[in-house]
């Protein structure tokens, strides 16, 4: 099991951990195979994500994926956020091993699920 320095750094110092009370958008996603769970909370003002917080139960890659995803979201419009792909999450983490790519999938799923619910409000 090899982790990039970026994964290691996010795991040691995860950004934006927590819960946003009365978030404008939120989602809870999980990967039943490995038990990973990710909660994502977004504050949205004028169609732009101003705040993002996450909580993850999972391996270091899953925690780093949650952390880096919040960074990739903050300051971006909903349109831009909807374009965020697992590949970008993966790249932002310095490249995950094939065994750990599923953690970037979970992060992408969380973003899509949160924004879908937001749009359907």
């Amino acid at each position: 099991m090899q982790y990039s320095d970026i994964v290691q750094e996010h795991f040691d110092h995860p950004r934006n951990v927590g819960v946003i009370e009365q978030a404008d958008a939120a989602a809870q996603v999980s990967n039943p195979a490995c038990g990973d769970i990710m909660h994502l909370y977004l504050r949205i003002e004028n169609d732009r994500i101003t705040e993002a917080k996450f909580k993850t139960m999972g391996c270091p890659a899953a925690i780093a994926a949650g952390s880096v995803t919040t960074e990739l979201l903050i300051g971006h419009s909903i349109e831009e956020a909807l374009q965020l792909t697992r590949a970008e999450v993966n790249t932002a983490l310095g490249g995950l091993t094939p065994q750990k790519v599923h953690t970037s999938v979970l992060a992408e799923d969380a973003v899509r699920a949160a924004l879908k619910k937001y749009r359907q409000r």
Binding site: F11, K55, C59, P60, I63
Partner: protein, 386 residues
């Protein structure tokens, strides 16, 4: 930074005394034991002496001990070799749900080749019920394979009881004793098993050496054919230095087995009590069952074992997760699943396995850092509401 190794069930360091013995068989006495000249004769002596030593340790005749590259090869040889030798008699095997992959994957292979395999469950303590094994036997059963001590939990199986029921039916009995070998007295004459696998690198000999006991006359085909080494049962030039190391490691294990058992048991108790006193919502797997004194399998609710392992590693403590996520499979441990460990704990297991070098100071250091690490992981977790 402190470096503390608590992963002795994965592998052990080669003891300096063992390495010392080994080196001679790389440098001076490098001969091939099959050679008739003096170089060969000198290495033949150490191969024979080690065979005698292992035989003595296991209560077996020397002719019943065979050396291999390790436990995996021994398990493969016995399962495939019995299946090949008895193919006309039956094609059914019985094993347990908690075996090492070296047995489970070999069974899966044999199933592809037309055998049927029954996987006997364990109870919540991780113990195989001998009567469940007996109930699984059919007229087609040719071999039963149940491990002596589990690598993840250290739980010791009632092998003598199982062997008694199995052999009553005229069926062969194998035990994978890789984790138990060198830690407790193992006597094949008392256990009454037909086959027993062992490995060197779990008892301070190097990787790449191990072997098996086979009751004289027990039907078995070899896996490797070639130069007739090991009485034709395992061809390939003997790993003489490894065999010499195994002999020395066995002698050292025998010399202080009881003291080392008791010493490690005290450390295990300190570790487990310390964890339970300081950290809420923990679960010790197999703690109610007879267990190796070096193995603690502890699960923390609401967190993932690999994250705990990584944090411990950053602070100098090396141990394993109790789950298989890091080894490429996403699924949690098949052993903990078989024991019915609740979902909340299933992903948060760590395995601490102590060894000869482990001190009380090491355990105290783990107890100092672990509560903070678990707390940190739980603060990140959506599944843990304190």
């Amino acid at each position: 930074m402190r470096q503390i190794y608590l992963d002795h069930n994965a592998t052990t360091p080669v003891l300096p005394e063992v390495l010392e013995v080994m080196l001679r068989y790389f440098r001076e006495d490098f001969g091939n034991p099959s050679s008739v000249h003096r170089y060969g004769r000198r290495t033949r002596v150490v191969v024979d002496d080690t065979r005698d030593g292992v035989a003595d340790m296991l209560g077996a005749p020397a002719s019943a001990i065979f050396f291999s590259s390790g436990g995996t090869e021994a398990n493969n040889t016995i399962l495939k070799g019995v299946a090949a030798a008895l193919t006309g008699r039956g094609r059914h095997l019985v094993t347990s749900q908690i075996e090492h992959p070296a047995v489970l994957d070999t069974c899966a292979y044999l199933a592809q080749q037309g055998c049927t395999v029954t996987y006997v469950p364990v109870d919540e303590h991780g113990v195989v019920d001998p009567e469940a094994v007996r109930d699984a036997l059919t007229d087609e059963t040719i071999l039963v394979s149940v491990m002596y001590a589990n690598n993840e939990t250290g739980v010791i199986q009632p092998i003598a009881d199982i062997a008694h029921l199995v052999r009553q039916r005229g069926i062969l009995m194998h035990t994978d004793a890789v984790q138990a070998f060198g830690k407790l007295p193992l006597r094949v004459d008392e256990l009454d098993v037909d086959f027993l696998s062992f490995s060197g690198h779990k008892l301070y000999a190097p990787k790449g050496i191990g072997g098996w006991y086979a009751r004289p006359g027990a039907p078995l085909h070899p896996l490797l054919h070639g130069g007739h080494q090991e009485r034709g049962m395992r061809s390939g030039t003997e790993h003489v230095a490894g065999i010499a190391a195994l002999g020395k490691a066995c002698a050292m294990a025998m010399s202080d087995m009881r003291q080392e058992w008791e010493r490690q048991q005290q450390l295990q108790q300190r570790l487990e009590h310390g964890i339970q006193e300081q950290i809420p919502e923990v679960r010790m797997q197999g703690a109610e069952a007879p267990r190796l004194p070096n193995t603690t399998n502890v699960a923390f609710a609401g967190v993932e074992g690999e994250s705990l392992m990584m944090s411990l590693d950053l602070q100098g403590v090396a141990l394993s997760t109790g789950s298989a996520c890091s080894s490429g499979s996403l699924e949690p441990s098949h052993v903990l699943r078989a024991m019915g460990v609740p979902e909340a704990y299933l992903y948060g297991a760590l395995r601490c396995s102590l060894g000869r070098g482990t001190t009380l100071a090491d355990i105290e250091y783990v107890l100092e850092i672990l509560p903070g690490i678990v707390q940190h992981a739980r603060a990140l977790s959506p599944s843990f509401a304190p």
